[in-house]
Amino acid sequence: MTSTASALRAPQMALRVRTVLVWVAGTAILALMALWLIINFVHAPAQFFQSAVYGLRNGVLYALIALGYTLVYGIIELINFAHGDLFMLGTVFSAFTLTGLGLTVPNLTGWLGFALVLVLAMIFCASINVTIEFLAYRRLRRAPKLAPLITAVGMSFVLQFIGQQWNGSTPRLWPSILPRGHFTIGGVTIDHNVFVVIAVTGGLLALMTWIVAKTRAGKAMRATAQDQDAARLMGINVNRIISFTFAMGGALAGAAGILYQQTVGTTRYNAGFQLGLIAFTAAVLGGIGNLTGAVLGGLLIGLIQGLNDGLPLYAPGQAWSQSVVFAILIMLMVFKPTGLLGQTVGEKV
């Protein structure tokens, strides 16, 4: 009798040991990171804040792209691999449109043109995203999960091809029409364009939150995300709502595209792959499907990347930037697959 009891208890013990181990390891990693930050902060505070500012500027863009991932995942549980490349097309589109309109100088016309092209890029990316959904993902909605995932990877290649033909296979350098110049507080340089990025992103986030939380379409979106069949029974046009979600994600990617092109100044046909992956990591970090989480994750990943690239002591440095982000992704999957703000969702039977 006792032997059976102990045999039954053994897996439970193993589980408990495992939980404790995971907890200890996770805490240790977090503590090490905190220690690293403190050492660097004490050593060179100005550099710390400088790296943080650069990191946060990137983080804002990651947040915009991550929102696209999280919106789509939230509603049809698909990792839209093509999303990063959609963002890349946004950068290329805005670069060519701005130059094509002759807007290369930062003055009032340039800024008005920027606003115009921002809207155009958003419409452009939104329509591409909706088209992809209509042509490919919609037919695969009832298919096993592997099929839409592979389709998304294929779509990402098709978009990269378009970018390659459009932009050329080498990176291009473009003039910026955002306000130039910078100011300095206590040794930390802040570019003026950081404010443009933050203002545009803040506005878009507010708009998006309003759409999701207050409008009828947003309500329908949330309903569809919870249960498609029930939503359909309630008279919601599920197809249209999913298209609408893709349009929203695409528009945010387009906005991120023009902001990236204007602040970084270059376009590459393969930029979307890496940035898309980083943004996806951000979405997972925040808890995929959670909108606030995506923004939080984007800012955090940007911050971590900025600190890794810029801090003087014990930082792996820019050459390892990708590895650091992916290591975070892997550790996250091991220690907290639900992300920071996500909820535990079991696999549907």
């Binding site: 009832r142 592979i150 990877v153 294929g154 290649f157 992704l329 892997i330 696999e347």
Partner: protein, 430 residues
């Protein structure tokens, strides 16, 4: 096969030899492989007509056949992970890279402080370094890859399928970056950084040339003998895939692929089975890595890109997930298309129509488009495994419940399943 009804007893075929159906494909493959060998043997010896020779050298150079065999090995490995066990792996290039660097480490003059020679064959003018026999390196590369496969799999295989894809993708990005930045890891050079490791020791084998056949180290142009070596490796992996598929482990993989919960309820140990898929798939990836390193006599970190993982996936998907022969067909076709077919078709097209289209730049479109179109219109691949076809066409249970009778029109296969299935490709039923 095992679920089929008992095979009705047939009368003994008279007059001619009948082979069981399961021998058709292996025999076909063997005959093809031997035919290729004889053809190129005659070609190398100069027995063939110059027009045949120039055609063969233009459209089917032996180099690209050898490279295609390397792709076949890796694709068969990925097939075990994706096709058999149904775990999407988007970072398979990592194993290829690890295998390549194992060859770089212990088959070259890279560690010039050491001076070890285990049945090795150092390249000329190389002093020092570790020189291990090619076949031992193959085993070492496979073992290290299996270790890494289990290492990456152990913490992540509990995840949901799409998360798993992301983690493998991250792994596939980290490993090449480690080799890329590896010339200075806290002052230690582990990979020569972007320069890569070269040359790698030549393999010893039968060198076949018009001057005669002799045993020795193979030069850069001994493609025919390298073909034999790669063929042996491919056959080994092929045999492993086929036999595992039929065994207890293979059936457990299929069960997991088709319904993880049901498999677990039937007593299939999920973690161990998935880990086995990862490890064994990685073994094939490592063998491919070592073979490729000796094929080009060097390893370069920039070669190991995400595109390789995707190309491998495309090979598996295009050929027919889970069916070894389909995967092999897909790998041979795509590898040939990539290395020879597309550029040669482009030159022919351009010279015929007087255009200047850069065909290789269309590979993104072709690969991406192929993946999308296959998923939309022929999800089961060119040569589907009969079982895969049903699974990929099968709507999820919840969907069936939700849609009720609507499903009848959308998936005619459903009727087939409920009425007991029709005779599959295995052709056991009359």
């Amino acid at each position: 096969m095992s679920f089929a009804e008992p095979v009705p007893t047939e009368g003994k075929p008279r007059g001619r030899l009948r082979l069981p159906g399961r021998f058709t494909w292996p025999l076909f493959f063997l005959v093809l492989a031997i035919a290729i060998f004889i053809f190129y043997y005659l070609l190398t010896m100069g027995y063939l007509d110059p027009s045949v020779r120039s055609f063969a050298l233009k459209w089917f150079p032996l180099v690209s056949i050898n490279e295609a065999l390397v792709w076949v090995m890796a694709a068969l490995g990925l097939n075990i992970v994706v096709g058999y066990a149904g775990l999407l792996d988007l970072g398979f290039v990592a194993f290829w890279a690890i295998g390549g660097y194992v060859a770089g480490w212990i088959m070259s003059g890279f560690f010039d402080k050491a001076n070890v020679n285990i049945l090795g064959n150092p390249a000329r003018f190389i002093t020092g370094g570790i020189h291990v026999n090619f076949w031992i390196v193959v085993i070492a590369g496979a073992a290290l890859c299996a270790f890494f496969g289990v290492l990456i799999g152990a913490p992540t295989l509990r995840l949901r399928s799409d998360y798993l894809a992301l983690v493998t993708l991250g792994f596939g990005e980290i490993i090449p970056q480690v080799f890329h930045n590896g010339d200075n890891v806290y002052g230690v050079n582990i990979s020569n950084g972007t320069k890569g490791i070269s040359p790698i020791d030549p393999v010893q084998g039968l060198s076949i040339s018009p001057q005669g056949i002799k045993f020795g180290s193979l030069g850069p142009f001994d493609h025919l003998s390298r073909y034999l070596i790669f063929l042996v490796l491919t056959l080994l992996i092929l045999f492993m895939s086929l036999r595992l598929r039929e065994g207890r482990l293979g059936r457990a993989w299929l069960a997991i692929r088709e319904d993880e919960l049901a498999a677990s309820a039937m007593g299939v140990p999920l973690m161990r089975t998935k880990l086995a898929a990862y490890g064994i798939g990685a073994v094939a990836g490592g063998v491919a890595g070592v073979a490729f390193a000796s094929h080009v006599s060097g390893v370069l970190p920039d070669r190991f890109q995400f595109a390789i993982s995707i190309t491998l996936l495309a090979m598996v998907v295009l050929g027919g997930m889970g069916n070894v022969w389909g995967v092999m067909l897909g790998a041979l076709l795509l590898a040939w298309f990539n290395s020879t077919g597309l550029p040669e078709l482009g030159t022919t097209f351009n010279s015929t129509f007087g255009t200047h289209i850069n065909f290789p730049s269309y590979s993104f479109l072709i690969f991406g488009g192929a993946l999308v179109l296959m998923m939309l219109f022929r999800r089961e691949g060119f040569l589907p495994e009969s079982r895969t076809r049903l699974v990929l066409r099968e709507p999820e249970r919840t969907d069936v419940e939700a849609l009720g009778s609507d499903m009848e029109e959308q998936a005619p296969e459903l009727d087939v399943m409920t009425t007991g299935g029709k005779s599959g490709d295995e052709g056991v039923r009359p």
